[in-house]
Subunit: 424 residues, 2 copies
């Protein structure tokens, strides 16, 4: 397969971290890298001009959502995803399999990708926050009107043949299988696509997780058969939080001629569990293909996963938390694991704060505006807030990834991790 | 007064249109010009980088709203409005007097600046649209959740001493008079400020309109006395839709040593009425001060008012209609008075339309995206829509104003008007 090449430029001596270069027809991706997410074909609140000025190397769009709206065939007729969204650098798409989880079990049981990270008290706090955000959107200024996190209808039905989805757009049932997922991704014309898989829940038992994994392996073979050979195809390792299943899945997926390997599915019930999954998985992978960790990408995750040998990540977190008022700050500006490296801009203490969000940040938002101004925009529900906040958080994360790469290049990865993750 | 100078560079031979140059400490404004509105200190959905890339010569912010939130004293402590919003070109502020109208009588009686332009059937249509927009904001993607246009509490009390406002922010009563309005505008540190006035309603009778006009004249003198001499001060002509009052007000205001003259208040019940008001007013003005028409600025208005001798306008229309899906198009692209020079991007016929909003437009949105993409963002409630749409409409209007200026320069104003306003 020639749609992608991957080169490891440097290896960290103490860890499995590696500095790499993914080459595609539409440009290179220096790794490790956090791929900004453009679910519906736009990084929310930004234009493609913003992505270019941020220096975004690539982006990731959502196969399932774009299939429903506006439709992958429409996008094909309009010249493909890049032309559609005005972005000519590499675009990833997931396969739609993750939606079997997020619209199915996760929706029904209120869980996220890393287990039930919502204990009761946090759940309460989270619900309150969602309610508040809804109330705040009285003027509709773009706050995400999150569905209340109550158990909801499972919108998927899964068989060996594929996954049926009840569309959140029109209520109709849609069917996806490997062949169809490959066809949709081919219509989208993206650069790096994912094999069709079933993403299980942390609450799935061993037997169910195994069944889903075996299905995924079959679908992987079908994905290889049906995929557009102009696109680079990543296989997805499943197996939940079961060591033998992860091992089995790692072997099955890496035996296939994929261009890259993604790690998907349930990553256990905590961040430690997630590290465990990587430890079961990555040492069994060959070295010559890029490795992508699906749906993960907070600061601490990135250190832990890069040092285990992950090359790329995608995560909605930086952009989503920006819209909710959380702006990222570096350790020099008081960021730490305790505060999740962010300030909440709506806090009253920023009312008169003339400093930028992060005095060390060189983004356009920090170069131009004070915390006081951003707080004013946020509490006044001004639409401009969302862009300025998103620009900051994305710049921050992309700059952070640059630091991570630089640290591998210069043999200082451990020091960088220490600087960011030391307890305060 | 030396905070502003004004020069007429060229006069149209057939009409009273004039090409002018307003000079301020923070830069020049070539006129005729439509000043983009940044009510709360941001042009909604844009950053100041966008204003610069649009080539916006200046902007207009709202004294009353900024006084309430985040507070003019706070803005002063933060270094003034320009630093606050990251925009170093001239900024206008209104005086707060208009809010006596918009939060008072207009709110109670459901009327707009040009009379009761909402006949019953339009009213119904408008209400439906508002409801639809509200429903659409389920994901809160930034649509303006307009208050239903039902009669509401009058939030103002007006006496000869000043205007009391019930804050929409916290329900408390705030008092504004000329001295206070001047102080607030001084705190904001803007470049061109407005005298304190009372803006009456088209439904106000002769006696009330006269009373309010006389108050405005008194407040004008106080504004001159109290205003910050580093700021250029415009007086505001009132008098409603009564010929003798408009004449009287024109004489009273133009007799004062204002830096510029604004025409405010009720402009009658139709666009024809508005032209009538200008015909009563402008011929009585001296020639050496810039003239601003408050709150007006659609394409046809601009032609009619420029040819009567107006130099600057401010209007929320281009940015507001953008957010509601209306994107401006030129006559070459099918724009006409009948369709108000816009397309509604949500229309199904644009689903597969690969052309830009206006093929003749050189804005970043038109250079990058298709109507199909913008429609997709709009119907998917993506936040990115608001910026791309706003960028187009503002670029369109600013480019249009450039064409108007160029036509005066080259003696082709009448032809330009004919090209835009001919019936199709």
């Amino acid at each position: 397969m020639g749609a992608l090449s991957f080169e490891i430029l440097k290896r960290d001596k103490q860890t499995h971290a590696r500095l790499g270069l993914i080459k595609t027809m539409r440009g290179d991706i220096q790794t490790p890298y956090l791929v900004p997410v453009a679910t519906m074909g736009s990084v929310r609140a930004l234009g493609s001009d913003d992505l270019l000025s941020l220096g975004a190397q690539c982006t990731l769009a959502n196969t399932y959502h774009l299939h429903l709206k506006p439709g992958d065939e429409l996008i094909k007729r309009l010249g493909g995803m890049h032309r559609f969204m005005g972005f000519d650098r590499p675009v990833f798409t997931d396969s739609g399999g993750f939606q079997a989880f997020s619209l199915g079990f996760a929706r029904e049981h209120n869980i996220s990708k890393i287990g039930n990270i919502f204990p009761q008290d946090f759940r309460k706090k989270y619900d309150d926050e969602c309610t508040e955000v809804e109330n705040r959107s009285a003027r509709g200024a773009g706050y995400e009107k999150n569905e209340k996190r109550k158990p909801k209808e499972n919108l998927t039905k899964i068989t060996d043949e594929g996954i049926s989805f009840k569309s959140i757009a029109d209520g109709a049932w849609h069917f996806l299988n490997a062949e169809k997922s490959m066809k949709i991704q081919s219509n989208l014309g993206t650069d790096i696509i994912m094999a069709f898989d079933e993403c299980t829940s942390p609450l799935s038992d061993y037997d169910y997780t195994r069944k889903a994994m075996l299905r995924t392996h079959n679908w992987s073979e079908e994905s290889i058969r049906y995929h557009d050979k102009n696109q680079a195809l990543y296989g997805i390792i499943q197996g939940g939080w079961f060591e033998d299943l992860r091992r089995e899945s790692t072997e099955a997926i890496s035996a296939q001629p994929f261009d890259g390997i993604a790690i998907g599915g349930s990553l256990g019930n905590s961040k430690q569990d997630m590290h465990q999954v990587l430890d079961w998985t990555i040492p069994r992978l060959d070295d010559d293909r890029p490795r992508h960790l699906l749906g993960i990408g907070e600061i601490d995750d990135i250190f832990e996963c890069v040092e285990r040998g992950i090359d790329t990540f995608d995560c909605v977190s930086p952009t989503r938390i920006a819209r909710r008022g959380s702006l990222l700050i570096s350790p020099q500006a008081g960021g730490s694991q305790e505060n999740k490296f962010h300030i909440n801009i709506k806090t009253a203490k920023f009312k008169e704060d003339r400093s930028p969000v992060d005095p060390n940040c060189t983004c356009s938002t920090c170069r131009t505006y004070s915390r006081a101004y951003l707080r004013h925009l946020y509490v006044s529900r001004e639409l401009s807030y969302f862009r300025l906040a998103t620009l900051h958080n994305l710049h921050f994360m992309l700059r952070f990834m640059e630091e991570v790469r630089e640290s591998i290049r210069t043999g200082t990865f451990a020091q960088l991790k220490e600087k960011w993750l030391r307890k305060t």
